[in-house]
Subunit: 349 residues, 3 copies
Amino acid sequence: MSKTATGNFFEDFALEQVSVHAAPRTVTAGDQALYTALFGSRFAVQSADPFAEMIGYPKSPVDDLLVFHIVFGKTVPDISLHAVANLGYAECRFLNPVYPGDTLFAESQVIGLKENSSGKTGTVYVRTHGTNQHGETVVTYVRWVMVRKRDETLKTGHDTVPTLITHVDPEALGGACPPISTEAWSNALSGSPHRFDAYVVGERIDHADGMTVEDAEHQLATRLYQNTARVHFNAQQEAKGRFGRRLIYGGHVISLARALSFNGLANAFHVAAINGGRHVAPLFAGGTVYAWSEVLEKAHVPGRSDVGALRLMTRATRDLPCDAFPQNEATPEQPGVVLELDYWVLLPV
Amino acid sequence: MSKTATGNFFEDFALEQVSVHAAPRTVTAGDQALYTALFGSRFAVQSADPFAEMIGYPKSPVDDLLVFHIVFGKTVPDISLHAVANLGYAECRFLNPVYPGDTLFAESQVIGLKENSSGKTGTVYVRTHGTNQHGETVVTYVRWVMVRKRDETLKTGHDTVPTLITHVDPEALGGACPPISTEAWSNALSGSPHRFDAYVVGERIDHADGMTVEDAEHQLATRLYQNTARVHFNAQQEAKGRFGRRLIYGGHVISLARALSFNGLANAFHVAAINGGRHVAPLFAGGTVYAWSEVLEKAHVPGRSDVGALRLMTRATRDLPCDAFPQNEATPEQPGVVLELDYWVLLPV
Amino acid sequence: MSKTATGNFFEDFALEQVSVHAAPRTVTAGDQALYTALFGSRFAVQSADPFAEMIGYPKSPVDDLLVFHIVFGKTVPDISLHAVANLGYAECRFLNPVYPGDTLFAESQVIGLKENSSGKTGTVYVRTHGTNQHGETVVTYVRWVMVRKRDETLKTGHDTVPTLITHVDPEALGGACPPISTEAWSNALSGSPHRFDAYVVGERIDHADGMTVEDAEHQLATRLYQNTARVHFNAQQEAKGRFGRRLIYGGHVISLARALSFNGLANAFHVAAINGGRHVAPLFAGGTVYAWSEVLEKAHVPGRSDVGALRLMTRATRDLPCDAFPQNEATPEQPGVVLELDYWVLLPV
C-alpha cells in the first residue's frame, strides 16, 4: 500500500465522520513576529504586553486570525486537498484567548454532504474545532468546500445541507476576551479616539492604504500555517491550471484586510466571530489589496459593560482603491472586490 | 467625521507640539530572528547569549538598528505620511540596552518648522524619544522631513530651524553598553583580531560583499517595524509615482550596510550614536547593495577603559562594488552611493 | 593591513589545522518559526511541545536540519568563500538534541587536502563539530569542497584524501533522541499510521507535492543561518557568473525535500545521520522542487526497542514530478534530479 497520502475525494466523506487532524502546533513569539512582518498589524493589545496587561489580559494574546489560519491549515490535508473552490465560512467564534506557548490541535466533523448535479463534484460541510493543550476550544467554525469526485460515474446520493445561522448572536461573543478596564485603555497608544459609541450603523470607512503581495510573502504565510494546499505553492503545476499561476490563500486576504482596517478601526482590538466570508474573486502575486468597511450592526454584549460589538462587512479589493466604497466583484482581468467578510469585532466602550 | 486617519500636512504641525505615537511594541526573539534573516547580521554580542553574558551583558541585547527602526516606524503615521523626502537624521543616541521582552514606546516633539519658498512644502524637525516599559529612554534622535501642504495658498510663516550638533560628543556615548570584560572577549568567536587600537583615522575598509534586495524582503522588514509609509508597499500607486515603482525604506539600506560592515568591523559590536545620515539616492528592488567605511575619528569614552569609539562614515552603494571606495551619488539610472551614514561604534580595547 | 577578510584559498589550508568559527548563535523559537515558514515542515515532534513531551522529550527540539544549516553557515567564511563546488558530505551524525535557547558553536579541522591536476583548484576536506553552550557536540560531519588557488603557478603538493565510511553504523545512531514512549505516540496527531515496521527495503515513496522557490525565500533562509557565500546573494555579480543568476544554497533543497517527505514519512521524526549527499545540479529561483525516497536499509538501533532506523535515499528534482521516481540528473536547462541524499531517520516501532 502506498505511503503517500492522496487526500479525500467527495465520495470518501461520510456524514458525522470525525477527523483528528495531524501536526498540533505550539504558537510562539516567533509566529507572532512573522505575522506582524507579513501583514503589518498594529492593534495595541496584540502588539505590546504592557498594553494588554494594563487593560486586564495576562499578556498579549496571539492575533485571532493567526489562530484561525493555523487551525484551518491543519484541516487541509484531510478536507480540501481536492477542493475546487472554498465556498464559505460561517458560525466562526473565538472562545478562548491563545497566548504564545499554547498549542493548537484541530478536529473536524462532516455536517453536510451534497453531490452536485454535474456528478463531478460535491459540497462538503465541516465543523472544525481548534483546541488548546488544556482541551479548551479556542476557535470553532463551519466551512464548506466543493470537492472533486474520484469517480464521476459513482452516484453517492448525498443531499444533506446543514442549517447554518446567518450571524452569531451577540450573547455568544467575547469568550476569548477577558474583562477589560476601559479606564486603563489609552486611546493615544491604541491609535484612535473612536471607541464603541463613536460608530453608527451604516457608517462606511475607507481603510485608505494598499498593500501589494509578493509570491514569497503568501508562500511564507501559508507554510507558517502548515497549510499544504497545492495551488498556493506549485508554480509549475499552476501554470497549466485554471488561472495560469499560483493562487493566494484566501486567508491571506482576510489578514491583509484586517491589518489595513487599523486605519479607521484601531480600537476594534478583537475579532470575536466571523458570520460569513466569501472569496468572490482570486488574488495573485502582484495584486494590490485595499479594503473598506461598513458597520452593519451595533450590539451590547450581554453581561458586559466593558466592550461593545460592531458587526462589520469588510470588503477587500484587488487593484482598486476604496475611497468610493466599491462593491463590484473582481474578475481575473478586472479590478474589484475579492473578499466579503461579515464579522463581529469588540471595542472598548 | 471620518474615522480614517489621513496624516498630518505641514500646516497641521505646531512648534513644541508633542505626539504620543500609537502601537507600543514588545520586541521578542521572533523579531530578532527575522532581523537576522533579513540582513544576515553576525555581530557576536547580538547573536549569542553566552557571548554577551561572558563579557558582561545579562543576555544578548536586541540589535541597535532594529530598536531604531521600530521606534521610527511608530512616528510615520503622525509625522511623515505626507513626506516628500526624508531629509536627514542627527543627534541619535542609544541610551539603554533593549532585551527581548522589552516594550518600545515612542513620542516626538516638533522642534522646528520651516516653510519652503515654493509654498508647496515645509520642513518638519522632530525630536523622537523611544522609551521602554520602565519609562527609560532607549533611543533618541532628531529627524527632518519635507512635508506637503494641504493648502498651498496658505502661508504659515514658519521659519524656525533648530540648531543641531554636527556630531555626538564621545562623553555622551555608551549608555546602552554595560561595562564589558575585554579579557573575556574572544576574537575567535567575534570574528576578528582587530580591536579599537588596530584602527587608524583615515583608514578605509571595503566591506566586500553585495546583497541584492527583493520586494518581499523590504516589505517584510518595513512591516515588521509597523512602518506604514505608503511608498514602500503600494506598487499600483507607485507605478504612477515619481519613480514608477516601490521605494525601499531608507532604514533598510542602513541595516544592510551595517550587516555588510561585519567584514572589516566585526568587533564594532554596538552602534552608540548616529551623527547624521543622508539617503542621497533611492533604492529599488533588484538593486544590489555594497558598502565601505572610513574611520573619521577615534575617541576614548570618558570614564571607560573597556571600550573605545570609532566615528565612521559608511557609504552604501547601489550596483557598485566598493573596492575603489566610490563617493559619487547614484541616480535612479546610474550606480553609485545611496547612503552616507556618520556614526559612532564601540569596540573593545 | 586590510581589515577586510578575504577568505582562504587552497594554499592557505594546512592538514590538521583547526578553525574556530566566528559568531556563535543562540537558536530561538523565532528561528524555528522562520524555518516553518520557509519549508512548511509538519513533523509533530518539532511542531508541538505537548507532543514532544508526551513521548519523552522535555520539549520540542529544534529541527535537525536547522541545526545543521546554522553550524554549516558558520564554516563558510573560513572554508568555502572561494569554493567552486560543494562536492559532498559524509559521516554526519546528530549527537545531542538542541532546544530553543541553546547556543551553537562551530569548529572545523582540515582532514584532507588534494590539489587538482589542473593546478587551479584543490579539494579541502574538513570535519566540523557543532557544539552547544555546555561544550557537548550536537552535530558532526565531514564535508569536502573544491577551492580555488590564489596562485595557480604554486604547487602545494597536497595529496591527502581521508578515508570516509560509506554510511554511519546503526549503533552510532540516536544520540540526539531520548528514549521515547511508543505507546504515547499518537499516529493521528503525527499524521500517519505507518511506523517502522510498515516500511520495507526497496520501497519507493513519491512525496507528491511541489514547492516553487523564490529569491526572497532562499535569501532569507541562508541569511538566517548567517551563511555568507556570495553566490546566493549577489545578483549583479552572478549575472556575470557561471549560471547567470543567483545559485540557491544546496541546504535549501535538503530542507525542502525533508519537509516534502512528510507525505509518506510522517513518522520519520528525526534525522539521525547523513551518510552522504550530492548536489548533482543547481537550483535557481523559479524552480519547483519535488522529491521521492527509496528505503535502502532497515536497522534496529542497538540497545533500543523504542525506535528503528530507515536508511533512505531521497532524491529531489527540479521541475519534475516524482510519481515515476526519476533518477536522471537535471542540467541547468533540463528538469531532473538536483539532490541525492543518503541518510538515516528514526521512527517509532
